[in-house]
């Protein structure tokens, strides 16, 4: 047992590190993803990686994957987190892409995979509904066969960044009489320009607009857009959720955020000393680092299992629970660190930091918004309560 990277892995790390240093868009360095960015900024790195052939590392090589080992993929995400890179959005690369190459037909693969790899086609996810959140299988949106089309009616919600989407993947009920709610659901690809689709932004508590309600009224979609078999969509959706969960621990990003927190706390003063020298505060940062170390090794053990051919099992729920709790705690401590300057609502004050009379230090500007926004992480992707149910059932056997 050892934790060292092999010489080959170190060489790989140096290679990707210098590639990132040379190619990551200079105007985006360190900025991280924000919902109010222009769409071309959100996909800039994706497009560069697409040209390099590194946009879909986890895919099978025949579909454009890099053939990296799980450890190499881990190194890749670490190195990107070091510059807070805006990674390819997950909806194409991590969600619908794998479903298409695993269950789609040859025409669907030829039509959709290149645009996902290159970053030219923007995807969104039509899963949740107002009445179907944690209980996703109770979804009500219907797709009714009419000749060589499906006619889709219903309402989806929490469709992330759908305001920019070219295509969406939707779960629709095709057999309302199925015995169990999980049966009778189909997985359908929808061109977002099809008449009858209306995307309405949802304002979140941080003031941002990253999610939407998507209304579908008599949306006619060619039957060729069905993935796999009719009424088998739940199987594909579950496959996708397993992919969504890997990487959800966000270890690399949290490590960077801890560094940022330390640097903020070194700038802030308490009793004429840097806040980070205050034992009460430093103790909380250390607690976070300890929790993060435990999570990191847990993730590495999961990766090692994958390299040995064991897919991520229900224990990935631990990664989701602990990963999101740590992300939330980080933003909470950052807000605490900035003191009074966590109070201004910077979003409504353009150029808050660049005026003759600035409002607080730059690093304070996203503190409250990030804290509010990150409450979502224990709710989305299968709420942390649902993750605990999975462990209860699948691991404890209760």
């Amino acid at each position: 047992m050892n934790l060292e990277f092999s010489p080959e892995e170190i060489a790989f790390r140096d290679e990707v590190r210098s590639f990132i240093a040379e190619n990551y868009p200079k105007n985006q360095e360190g900025s991280g993803l924000r919902d109010d960015m222009a769409p071309e900024d959100l996909t800039a790195w994706h497009k560069i990686l697409g040209k390099k052939g590194w946009s879909v590392p986890a895919w099978p090589e025949e579909y454009g994957g890099t053939g990296w080992t799980p450890t190499q993929r881990y190194i890749w995400s670490e190195e990107n987190a070091r510059v807070n890179a805006i990674m390819p959005l997950p909806f194409g690369v991590s969600m619908v892409g794998p479903v298409i190459y695993a269950f789609g037909n040859e025409e669907q693969k030829a039509q959709h995979l290149p645009g996902i790899r290159s970053g030219d086609v923007w995807w969104c996810q039509g899963y949740s509904e107002p009445g179907a959140g944690s209980d996703l299988a109770s979804l009500q949106t219907t797709a009714v066969r009419d000749g060589d089309h499906y006619v889709i009616n219903g309402q989806k919600t929490w469709t992330t960044l759908a305001q920019h989407a070219d295509w969406g993947f939707f779960l629709c009920r095709t057999d309302p009489d199925a015995e169990k709610p999980q049966q009778g659901i189909s997985f359908i690809l929808v061109d977002m320009k099809t008449p009858g689709i209306e995307v309405r932004p949802i304002k979140l508590i941080d003031g941002g607009y990253e999610v939407n309600e998507t209304w579908l009224t008599d949306v006619r979609v060619p039957v060729e857009n069905l993935i796999g078999e009719e009424n088998r969509g739940w199987t594909y959706a579950k496959f996708l959720l397993a992919h969504e969960r890997s990487g959800i621990a966000g270890v690399a990003r949290s490590k960077r955020a801890v560094e940022q927190l330390r640097s903020i706390a070194a700038n802030e003063q308490l009793d004429d000393k840097p806040l980070i020298e205050d034992f009460d505060f430093a103790r909380k940062v250390s607690q976070l680092e300890i929790d993060l170390a435990a999570l990191e090794i847990t993730e590495l053990r999961t990766l090692a299992g994958e390299e040995a051919g064991r897919g991520p099992g229900p224990e990935s729920s631990i990664l989701k629970i602990k990963g999101t709790e740590i992300q939330q705690r980080l933003t909470e401590l950052t807000l605490e660190a900035v003191g009074h300057y966590g109070t201004p609502y910077y979003r409504d004050v353009p150029d808050a930091g660049s005026n003759e009379y600035p409002i607080g230090p730059d690093y304070a500007q996203h503190a409250a918004a990030s804290y509010f926004n990150m409450r979502k992480t224990s709710i989305y992707g299968g709420s942390n309560e649902i993750q605990r149910n999975i462990i209860t059932k699948m691991i404890l056997g209760l």
Binding site: S128, G133, S138, I205, E336, T343, G360, E385
Partner: protein, 378 residues
């Protein structure tokens, strides 16, 4: 022992409950806080007319002879409705400085205006570097002829955009963090040399960065003794903390009620989510936190008139306990509301945000824990 409110206090509460229900329905509040000015001077006038702004002042000062418990009643109702109007800055802070240390002329000049609603105050104490230490001041007031010259920068001054006057803390002598040499002034916000940058706050209020650039103030702007302002500031901010604790209790109560109600309505897996025991117990914990917070608010409020060490310890205890409860209840409210809790559409997010910011006002949990440790170890 008596934990009952007087008949008068109960009447005030009923009147306020009605006012908040009629004027502070969530969408009405949203319109106001997103509007140009961010508050309703006409509502402030109405509150003044109800006599609420005069309650904690003695009859000889033109008030109704009440005290901190009256402010508790008001702020608890303000918290329930997330009322943004500046009761704490104007009545508790400015009113507090004036009633404890103002001279006859100052009381004459300002208290009437506070009570009738015509003078609105903000309390400019925080500075970019000082965090929660009231003596850590870079703002200076230098003697100049008969008066003083103010220079400095005050941070996140709540309600300053609405204020006609400011209470300003400044150093008149000594080094930056000395306990001696701190003084308190009342300043007309329109005085030459005051520059403000106004902005909204994440919890729906308004605040300003306030810059003083060679602001000339007269000698009679000084409240209390020159250089001996710190004990007075500690007293008044303890009173403000008690009032904010009451506000937090009001907000926590509503957040808890909304969450329980949502868990009754929201169905998943064919059953209201409130039937899931894991959520039931979490809502019980929220309720317990709320009840402990009410107790601590009473403790702090009732000890405001006691000798200094006892008062400080009670207030620090309350701020620690309620700071923790406010985080707990805020976070759990959002979690149990699920995705809907993340939306700006529901009121619960606004309660969460107010309860978040409560912690950093007048010192957070860590600050008051240290204060408690120091007091407890004598």
């Amino acid at each position: 022992m008596d934990f009952n409110f007087t008949e008068e206090q109960s009447m005030v509460r009923d009147g306020l409950t009605r006012l908040v229900r009629e004027s502070y329905e969530f969408e009405a509040r949203r319109k106001v806080i997103e509007g140009d000015s961010g508050w309703r001077p006409e509502l402030w006038a109405q509150i003044a007319e109800m006599g609420l702004l005069g309650m904690p002042f003695s009859e000889e000062d033109g008030g109704f002879g009440g005290g901190p418990i009256d402010s508790l009643v008001v702020m608890e109702e303000f918290g329930r409705g997330l009322v943004v109007e500046p009761y704490v800055p104007t009545v508790v802070c400015a009113g507090g400085f004036l009633k404890h240390a103002g001279n006859a002329a100052q009381k004459e000049e300002y208290l009437g205006g506070i009570i009738d609603g015509s003078k609105v105050f903000a309390f400019a104490y925080a500075e970019p570097r000082g965090r929660y230490d009231y003596a850590d001041l870079e703002t200076t007031a230098k003697k100049d002829g008969d008066g003083y010259v103010l220079n400095g920068h005050k941070a996140v001054v709540i309600a300053a955009p609405w204020a006609s006057h400011l209470i300003v803390t400044a150093r008149t002598s000594g080094e930056r963090r000395d306990r001696e040499g701190v003084s308190v002034f009342v300043v007309d916000k329109n005085a030459d040399g005051i520059v403000t940058r106004d902005y909204p706050t994440v919890d729906g209020r308004r605040a300003s960065e306030v810059y003083f650039e060679n602001v000339q103030i007269p000698a009679d702007a000084l409240i209390g003794e020159e250089g001996n302002g710190l004990p007075l500031i500690e007293l008044v901010t303890d009173e403000a903390i008690a009032a904010h604790c009451a506000e937090a209790c009001g907000a926590m109560k509503v957040a808890h009620e909304m969450t329980v109600e949502y868990s009754r309505q929201r169905k998943q897996f064919g059953t209201p989510i409130g039937k899931f025991q894991v959520l039931q117990h979490r809502m019980v914990d929220m309720y317990t936190e709320y009840e402990q917070s009410v107790s601590m608010t009473y403790l702090a409020t009732l000890k405001l008139g006691e000798e200094e060490a006892e008062r400080k310890k009670a207030v620090a205890s309350a701020k620690v306990r309620i700071g923790q409860a406010a985080h707990h209840i805020g976070q759990e409210s959002i979690q149990i509301h699920g995705g809907m809790g993340m939306t700006d559409e529901l009121a619960i997010g606004s309660y969460f945000k107010r309860l978040t910011i409560f912690d950093s006002e007048f010192g957070n949990v860590d600050h008051h824990m240290k204060r408690h440790v120091a007091l407890a170890s004598g």
